[in-house]
């Protein structure tokens, strides 16, 4: 099928988890100097595959072939030593260590054979960071960096060894437009260096832009592979979901009503300043900005999860004070956080308990929880969002990333809010579910809800918003109507330029 022989192969690999066959006899081929895109719905087993490739999990059957030799990894270090490096879906770094150490951990430069050579480590880190255009001090503590910067550190880490195989598990999910461009350049550079790259993403524009080959999984099974130039989006999607998806951005016009939320000069001493916005009934307000522009902080302030905030918030014309998420929820404002695992869900608790968590008081009689009501609520909203699970009693931690995200959204919809703030709602969500989330957003506004959607994905912002706010360095720098917004305009504003 292809010229050249793969440097890395998986043959008939399976991985079992209690109750789930995450991988079922899958195959994969990676070629030097080529990018292979791995695509599949949420829970298809992509991340599990990455962990199997890098020695984090041991496969239950099948074999891994590297350079035509079958190999076995007993620890992540083994794969590291062979030159296989990965950026995992959830950034796995050390907040309390310096940037340089995060880059070189497990692979320290040495002095006299025994001692860590800090000097060299800082210098090399600086070099790598400069090469990927990241302005980060190698001596800084990682904990003080933004998510985007952390991601750059993770990339630097992957580049710190002379890798033959580079795995990127949804690397662009946390990056903004500008950084994504730089990442693409980087991938090109890696290709030119002859490295084999596995690229996992849910974004189709990306696939067609940088990938040479594709491999498709569905429900843990291998479906097929081929060359990108021989296929198109429609057929890929069909392979992925075994059906066709009509429209990813099914924006339908809703009746836009009165102002629901009115925010005047919302300010924070260090994070954002003088944010003014209005939100009408039935409106989807998109908030765009580069990563680190303060969108998350501003939204958290609206939700009461931030301290030292000044300014005025009016809901339905009434001035309200919101000092905690509990108060925000009472006023009908809910927030789907960006950091899902940390702030969105309780991994260890069953789905139904996660969904009922914000409204336990409403579901209880005499302070006792009513289990039946709870289950019904979970079923109703879980099914509506098509959460893929065997039982509502399943701990959320056993679901795939995308399905976890759906649980968070279900939880908030169940509270019947007025305003729902979605912070990167489709980050890491597959194309099928993404369409479902978008369709659902349209449905919500038609029911009279109002949505604030923070997103770093331009097509999503342009496709779904009635109005678009752009933030830059903690300030609102522009407001565009759906009809007048163009991609160039939005990006220019976000990067600090002036809209034409």
């Amino acid at each position: 099928m292809s010229e050249g022989s793969p440097i890395f192969r998986l043959e008939g690999v399976s991985k079992l988890f209690p109750g789930v066959k995450a991988l079922d006899q899958v195959n994969l081929n990676l070629y030097p100097g080529k990018v292979t895109a791995l695509i599949g719905e949420n829970g298809a087993g992509k991340s599990t595959l990455v962990k199997t490739m890098t020695g984090i999990y041991q496969p239950d059957e099948g074999q891994i072939v590297f350079d035509d030799k079958p190999i076995q990894f007993s620890s992540p270090q083994d794969s590291h030593q062979l030159g296989i490096t990965a950026i995992h879906q959830e950034t796995v770094l050390f907040d309390n260590l310096s940037v340089a150490e995060n880059v070189f951990l497990g692979n320290y430069p040495r002095k006299h054979g025994l001692f860590v050579d800090w000097q060299v480590m800082f210098e090399n880190t600086q070099q790598i960071l400069t090469s990927i255009n990241a302005e980060i001090d190698p001596k800084a503590n990682l904990g003080g960096l933004s998510i985007g910067q952390k991601h750059m550190v993770a990339i630097a880490r992957a580049l710190s060894i002379d890798a033959k195989v580079v795995v990127l598990d949804e690397p662009t999910a946390a990056l903004s437009h500008h950084e994504i461009q730089e990442l693409y350049d980087l991938v090109e550079q890696l290709k030119a260096d002859g490295k084999a790259i596995l690229f996992i993403t849910h974004k189709f524009d990306e696939i067609f832009r940088i990938a040479d080959y594709y491999t498709v999984f569905r429900d843990g099974r291998y479906i097929g592979e081929g060359r990108i130039c021989d296929t198109n989006e429609k057929s890929l999607v069909e392979m992925m979901v075994a059906r066709s998806i009509e429209d990813t951005y099914p924006k339908q016009d809703a009746d836009i009503g009165d102002v629901v939320l009115d925010v005047t000069s919302l300010s924070h001493p260090t994070e954002f300043d003088d944010i003014n916005l209005t939100l009408r009934k039935g409106e989807i307000l998109g908030v765009y900005g580069l990563v680190g522009s303060g969108r998350t902080e501003a939204m958290q302030a609206l939700f009461g999860a931030s301290h030292n905030v000044s300014g005025q918030i009016r809901i339905d014309g009434q001035t309200v004070t919101i000092n905690s998420p509990a108060e925000a929820i009472n006023h009908g404002i809910v927030y789907v956080p960006e950091e899902r695992q940390k702030q969105g869900i309780v991994l260890e608790l069953p789905i139904y308990q996660n969904i009922s968590l914000p409204q336990l008081s409403a579901l209880s009689k005499n302070a006792s929880v009513d289990l039946d009501d709870e289950m019904n609520l979970a079923r109703q909203f879980g099914e509506r969002l098509r959460v893929k699970t065997s039982s509502w009693n399943e701990p959320v931690g056993n679901l795939s990333g995308g399905n976890q995200q759906k649980v968070v959204i279900a939880k908030w919809l169940a509270t019947n809010p007025k305003v729902i703030i979605l912070d990167e709602p489709t980050k890491g969500i597959d194309i099928g579910s993404k369409a479902a989330v978008h369709a659902f957003m349209s449905e919500l506004v038609q029911l009279g809800l109002s949505v604030i959607m923070v997103s770093s994905e331009l097509p999503e912002i342009l496709g779904m918003s009635d109005r678009i706010l752009v933030m830059s360095e903690g300030r609102l720098v522009g407001e565009l109507d759906r009809s007048e917004a163009s991609p160039e305009q939005v990006v220019t504003l976000a990067t600090g330029g002036v809209a034409a």
Binding site: N96, L97, E101, V116, I136, D137
Partner: protein, 333 residues
């Protein structure tokens, strides 16, 4: 930036210790003298050595409550051995203490590493078991000074360049710990394993094994302190160092070691131990009523950790670039 903050926090603690020392000197004239400094340092040596071991354990997100029981058991065993074979050279006894301590530490470590049992639970168990074993081997008897050989008692007291061997041992372990933790991969792994176990595993660090090493070191140092303790106080009995584990943990937390793992420095721990040492030594000297001493040390611990938590609370990131009153960490280009 944070590193700098952490350092400044420790320097602050050092400053507090010094100020406290001189303030006490105003009340009790003889308190401020070279010999008293040496004496306090010497007196705190055992606490410092134990606290260094404990720090490693806490940095890896564990806790070792069995240190004091380990001290009692090893101390008793060494003292009994010395009693029965008085001609054995001290170096052999020290080796024995190190070995037995290491073994007891390894038992904790194995449970944590291979059985994944939370350390607080396992060391709560071994704390009782080791202390009970001390009773069993000694049958409740005391070993007194006249049952110990002269060399046994004299070793930690021998003065070299004005400082007793006990103090030198503390200095040795402080330096060794500093070098290991800063400049060796083995040492750095304690921080990564404790800071983010998942990430550490992804980076090829065997988290359980690192925790095992931490317990091993803590146990070994406790074993050594077992010998030092019975020899310094020239008596071994079942209740030796009873409740001392809490002082050791207190020295660590006052010294800025995070109980959540991943953070802690040798310098901080030494300062934390000295802080406790100065308070312990000063209270009787300035004539504080014995009935007040416990409440005062409790209040002091609380005050110290509050001060610690406050100074560490500054946030690292600022988005609004044109408000430069606070320096951004990544402004360096």
């Amino acid at each position: 930036m944070k590193q700098f903050l952490a350092n400044s926090r420790e320097s602050f603690l050092a400053l507090v210790v010094v100020v406290m020392f001189f303030a006490i000197g105003l009340i009790a004239q003889d308190f401020v003298s070279i010999s008293n400094v040496v004496s306090i340092f010497n007196d705190t040596s055992i606490l410092m050595i134990l606290a260094i071991g404990q720090m490693l354990v806490i940095v890896t997100r564990c806790i070792d409550l069995s240190v004091a029981a380990n001290v009692a058991f090893t101390g008793m065993l060494v003292a009994m051995t010395n009693n029965v074979y008085p001609e054995l050279p001290v170096i052999v006894l020290i080796a024995l203490a190190l070995g037995v301590g290491a073994l007891l530490g390894a038992i904790n470590g194995v449970f944590v590493w291979l059985l994944k049992v939370p350390s607080i639970v396992i060391t709560l168990g071994t704390m009782s078991v080791y202390r009970g074993m001390t009773f069993l081997i000694s049958d409740g008897n005391w070993i007194n000074s006249h049952q110990m050989s002269a060399a046994f008692i004299d070793f930690p007291r021998a003065v070299l360049l004005g400082i007793p061997v006990l103090g030198w041992l503390a200095i040795l372990f402080i330096l060794a710990a500093f070098v290991l933790l800063r400049f060796t991969e083995w040492g750095r792994n304690f921080y990564s394993a404790g800071g983010n176990p998942t990430a550490a595993f992804y980076s090829g660090v065997n988290v359980g094994k690192v925790q095992f090493y931490a317990f091993l070191v803590s146990g070994t140092l406790s074993g050594l302190c077992g010998y030092l303790w019975v020899s310094r106080f020239a008596v071994a009995y079942v209740d030796v160092a009873n409740g001392f584990e809490l002082q050791v943990v207190a020295a660590c937390v006052i010294g800025g070691v995070s109980i959540m793992g991943g953070i802690g420095s040798v310098f901080g721990v030494v300062m934390g131990a000295l802080f406790i040492g100065v308070v312990n030594n000063a209270l009787p000297v300035i004539g504080v009523s014995p009935f007040w001493q416990m409440a005062i040390s409790g209040a002091v611990i609380i005050a110290a950790v509050i001060a610690n938590s406050r100074s560490g609370k500054s946030k690292g990131r600022i988005i609004l670039r044109d408000r430069p009153q606070v320096q951004t960490p990544m402004a360096a280009k």
